[in-house]
């Protein structure tokens, strides 16, 4: 409208204002472009993500520029958004939101969308940052009966060993030996008896369990995978060595955390490739 007035009145002062506004618009465009340009985005996800369950997605934003801070950046990734009002030069900021993944298996984030209305809210500038971020979503755990012995369905082998452990099921109550950890003291019973009583748990880790997904009681493969995930978690928590009997492959039982992640990944990717 001002430009129209300028042309039509031939008034150079209005031309000056128009020139200033145009220049200002161009500079704001450049500034907006610079604002989203020098930023790197990283996505941090927890080790264990289960389908259908809320998980915390952390977005890390690094402003790589030397002079200009980043303002009002919005990161759109994995159906969530993280807002960064101000990230100083060379600074790293973290923002988290909860996300949910519907399907098990390997997920690939090919890009994140970085957008900002800065410096003036007339246009929102956005940029797609290509990434190659892969992560595995495990099947959602479905509670399943805890393996009790050989005869139970779904158990290929199971041994009951009456060795004291710290993480298994409650086996019996014993007197305090002096070497037991404090968290095993059964305070209610101790108060009743007038002397310290400790919970004695089964050391089920020693009993290797091999889960055969086809032998689990679920009606579909997905259900069985979910049950297997539940059982792997449950058994690992009680420090039991767990292995897997997949249709064509067998994974030997072990107890480490990396083994657990391996098992869960196997279950997540089963039948997907």
């Amino acid at each position: 409208m001002l430009g129209f007035a300028a042309v039509n009145t031939g008034n150079n002062l209005i031309f000056l204002i128009v020139a200033a506004l145009l220049a200002f618009m161009s500079v704001s465009g450049i500034l907006g472009w610079l604002n989203i340009k020098g930023a790197n985005v990283f996505i941090d996800l927890p080790d264990e993500i289960y389908s259908g369950m809320e998980t915390l997605v952390t977005v890390r934003l690094v402003n790589r520029r030397r002079y200009l801070p980043s303002f009002l950046l919005k990161v759109n990734v994995l159906e969530g958004t993280a807002d960064f009002d101000l990230v100083e030069c060379g600074e790293e900021r973290k923002k988290s939101f909860t996300g949910r993944f519907r399907e098990r298996g390997e997920h690939l984030v090919t890009g994140v969308e970085l957008s900002s209305p800065f410096p003036i809210n007339f246009f929102v500038r956005s940029r797609r940052l290509p990434t190659d971020r892969r992560f595995v979503v495990f099947p959602s755990p479905l509670p399943s009966p805890l393996p009790g012995g050989h005869d139970k369905p779904g158990m290929n082998s199971a041994l009951t060993v009456a060795v004291k452990g710290y993480e298994g099921d409650l086996a019996k109550i014993n007197d305090y030996s002096g070497a037991d950890p404090l968290r095993l003291i059964h305070w209610r019973l101790s108060a009743k008896h007038g002397e310290l009583k400790v919970k004695e748990l089964t050391a089920s880790a020693q009993i290797p369990v091999i889960l055969d997904i086809d032998a689990l009681p679920g009606s579909t493969l997905e259900e069985n995978l979910s049950r297997a995930v539940y059982l792997v978690n449950r058994l690992m928590r009680s420090n039991r060595a767990v292995g897997l009997q997949l249709r064509e492959r067998k994974i030997a039982p072990a107890v480490s955390r990396s083994h657990k992640l391996r098992l869960l990944s196997e279950l997540a990717l089963y039948g997907k490739n």
Binding site: V7, I17, Y67, P69, F71, L86, E106, R133
Partner: protein
């Protein structure tokens, strides 16, 4: 913490003020009163004191809109529009402020400010323009934060960061603005001329010379025109405006020139001028006597070298003139003698007798002129602007009684006596003199320099210029001004700024300039355009370089030698290994990751000094510099630390199979 809205309010009020103040002198009383009231009421409403309900502001807006819309006519557009603008701005100030309302305040203020340029073309505009642009830039950024940020508060440090980046915008926009201003296309003739007001129509030149109508004349030192030309001798500074060819009653007026009169070649020194008349004064195009040709504006020329501007001469114009400094205007054909010998019937006895006696004594026109000159000289006439002759025959009283008067008395009586003696004569109105501004290279001609002289026709020679005022015993035009006082020099400097403002901004038109250069046949066709573009590029580059230089100086001030060399090292590493180094990364940790002997050596030397609170010695700095340069090419040596390590952009994450 600072509330973003508070900052935004401050800025909005500042912008509104900058929109209102330049327009204030041209507003009606109601908007003049409403704006300050709305300003105060707005500040109170922000503090929840007497907030005004939204419906009231709507009603006020509608009422005033109807009121001013009724005043709109084809000839009166700007007046109601600016008053309405200020009313709408006032309403926005006291009503509740939402995101949209802030934008409206900015837009209305900008429009008000812009419309002020239709009333005044003063250079003060530039100051307002820079202020309003800076404030709007900062405000728009703050508004973006206000409407999109998740937090209503901002830390003082954050605010400083936002403000400094926001301020960067108008600074960076400046060179581009100059460039755009130069290249923006312009129409040759304004289409909406009715919007251009340009002040009241003032005729610096009088179209009627009537000596004796007032007993005294006041001398006003208003600027009539500025003329860009070379410095000339003072007695050549006769600025021709209008020819008054008829004496009626007691006044000289201009009537249509008789047909057939045609000018011939003018002989003498040619002087080119560019004339910038003050707005509204360009009814007659004034130029050095005798103006041969005028270009750059629309006009009607007549044979007696009177140029009348077309379109009423309203608004600011400029024109180029080529004048010939000549005392005679030759004519190709004979003139209509009767037209130039006509005198009114009622004249004083003494005047008629004097005319007749000259006619009797003089053999030819030239002799009659010199006889009359001697007559004037013998009377010891005094040049005066007060206690002037009045009455029925003021010219008679001037010559025979009071013997004092100003140029109008001298010229009128001389021309009248010439006609009575049988010599065709006419009056020329214009200016005499001019103050040369050495800084700008132009003459300033003021109203008090208005002057009238005579042109007498000599058969076979043409129109001869005669200035009878020269024969006054105390002729002011003869006195050469001496040394300039400081105040005068200061006035000249300020005037030069105003002049350049007009030349560079108000009258700027690239196309017209190029056309002028081409038509003048200077022979620099291609080059002139390139030169102008070059100038524009320089204008754009210079501020950028200045900003960069200041930034570099600031950086140098801030960082020590040690910090600088470390920064260089880290930059080099980042570049060579394509990694991002987080600021928390320890230097030794980094060198261990890199597994590069050059880097390890650098860290060792650097650490030996800096981690033991010792400054780097000159030879150490030399060695470090060499080491940095040696970092080149280490990429190709292959290295093992690529996939891990602090701050590496290539990372292994917990989930096992991921890459960033």
């Amino acid at each position: 913490m600072v509330r973003i809205k508070t900052v935004l309010n401050f800025l909005a009020y500042g912008i509104a003020l900058l929109g209102f103040v330049p327009l204030f002198p041209y507003l009606e009383t109601v908007p003049r009163m409403i704006f300050p009231a709305a300003f105060v009421s707005g500040i109170m409403a922000d503090r929840k004191i007497f907030p005004i309900p939204a419906w009231i502001s709507t009603v006020i807006s509608i009422l005033f809109f109807v009121f001013y819309a009724a005043q709109f006519t084809k000839d009166n557009v700007v007046g109601p529009a600016v008053n309405l603008l200020v009313i709408l701005l006032s309403v926005r100030l006291f009503s509740d402020k939402t995101d949209r309302n802030y934008l409206q305040i900015f837009a209305l203020s900008l429009f008000s400010f812009t419309s002020s340029s239709l009333f005044s073309l003063s250079p003060v505009f530039l100051i307002y323009l820079s202020l309003i642009l800076v404030l709007i830039a900062v405000s728009l950024v703050m508004l973006t934060f206000y409407s999109t940020s998740s937090e209503p508060l901002v830390s003082p440090r954050g605010l400083t960061r936002i403000m400094s980046v926001a301020l960067l915008m108008p600074v960076a926009a400046l060179p581009l603005m100059l460039l755009l201003f130069i290249i923006l296309p312009r129409t040759q003739v304004p289409l909406w001329n009715f919007l251009n007001i340009g002040g009241v129509k003032v005729t610096g030149l009088t179209e009627k010379v009537e000596p004796g109508s007032a007993s005294a004349v006041s001398e006003v030192k208003n600027i009539a025109l500025r003329a860009d030309c070379e410095k000339l001798p003072k007695d050549r500074l006769y600025w021709r405006g209008i020819v008054l060819n008829t004496f009626e009653g007691n006044a000289w007026v201009r009537k249509k020139t008789p047909p057939g009169e045609e000018g011939a070649m003018l002989k003498g020194k040619t002087v080119r001028q560019t004339i910038y008349p003050e707005p509204g004064r360009a009814v007659y195009l004034v130029a050095l006597n005798v103006p041969r040709g005028i270009s750059g504006t629309r006009f009607t020329a007549e044979h007696d070298y009177t140029y009348t501007a077309r379109g009423g001469g309203i608004g600011r114009i400029k024109y180029d003139v080529e004048s010939v400094l000549s005392d005679t205007i030759e004519t190709r054909k004979a003139i209509d003698r009767n037209f130039y010998l006509h005198v009114p019937e009622r004249l004083s006895r003494r005047m008629v007798d004097l005319g007749k006696s000259i006619a009797g004594k003089g053999k030819d026109d030239e002799e009659k002129i010199s006889l009359l000159e001697s007559e004037f000289m013998a009377r010891n006439l005094t040049y005066a602007t007060a206690n002037l002759p009045v009455g029925e025959f003021p010219l008679d009283e001037f010559l025979f009684e009071k013997r004092r008067g100003h140029c109008e008395f001298f010229a009128s009586s001389f021309a009248l006596l010439l006609r009575l003696a049988g010599v065709p004569a006419r009056l020329v109105g214009g200016f005499l003199g001019g103050e040369y501004n050495d800084l700008g290279g132009y003459y300033v001609v003021t109203d008090d320099m208005a002057h009238v002289w005579v042109e007498a026709y000599i058969q076979g020679k043409g129109w001869l210029m005669i200035d009878p005022s020269k024969w006054a015993v105390n002729f002011p035009g003869a006195v050469e001004s001496g040394q300039r006082s400081f105040a005068q020099s200061l006035r000249m400097t300020i005037d030069a700024f105003s002049y350049y403002w007009n030349v560079a901004v108000i009258d700027y038109d690239l196309e017209r300039q190029l056309r002028f250069i081409n038509s003048a046949n200077i022979g620099l066709r291609g080059l002139s355009l390139r030169a102008i573009l070059k100038l524009a590029v320089y204008l754009a580059i210079f501020p950028c370089l200045a900003v960069i230089a200041i930034a570099m100086m600031k950086r140098r001030e801030k960082s020590s030698r040690e910090e600088r060399i470390l920064a260089r090292f880290l930059r080099k590493v980042a570049k060579e290994y394509r990694i991002w180094i987080s600021p928390e990364t320890g230097l030794h940790e980094l060198s261990a990751t890199l597994n590069n002997p050059v880097a390890t050596r650098f860290v060792a030397i650097y650490g030996r000094a800096v981690y033991h609170d010792r400054r780097l010695a000159p030879e150490e700095i030399r060695e470090l510099t060499i080491l940095i340069s040696k970092m080149i090419g280490t990429k190709s040596r292959g290295h093992s630390g690529m996939d891990s390590g602090p701050g590496n952009m290539v990372r292994i994450q917990g989930n096992g199979i991921d890459k960033p």
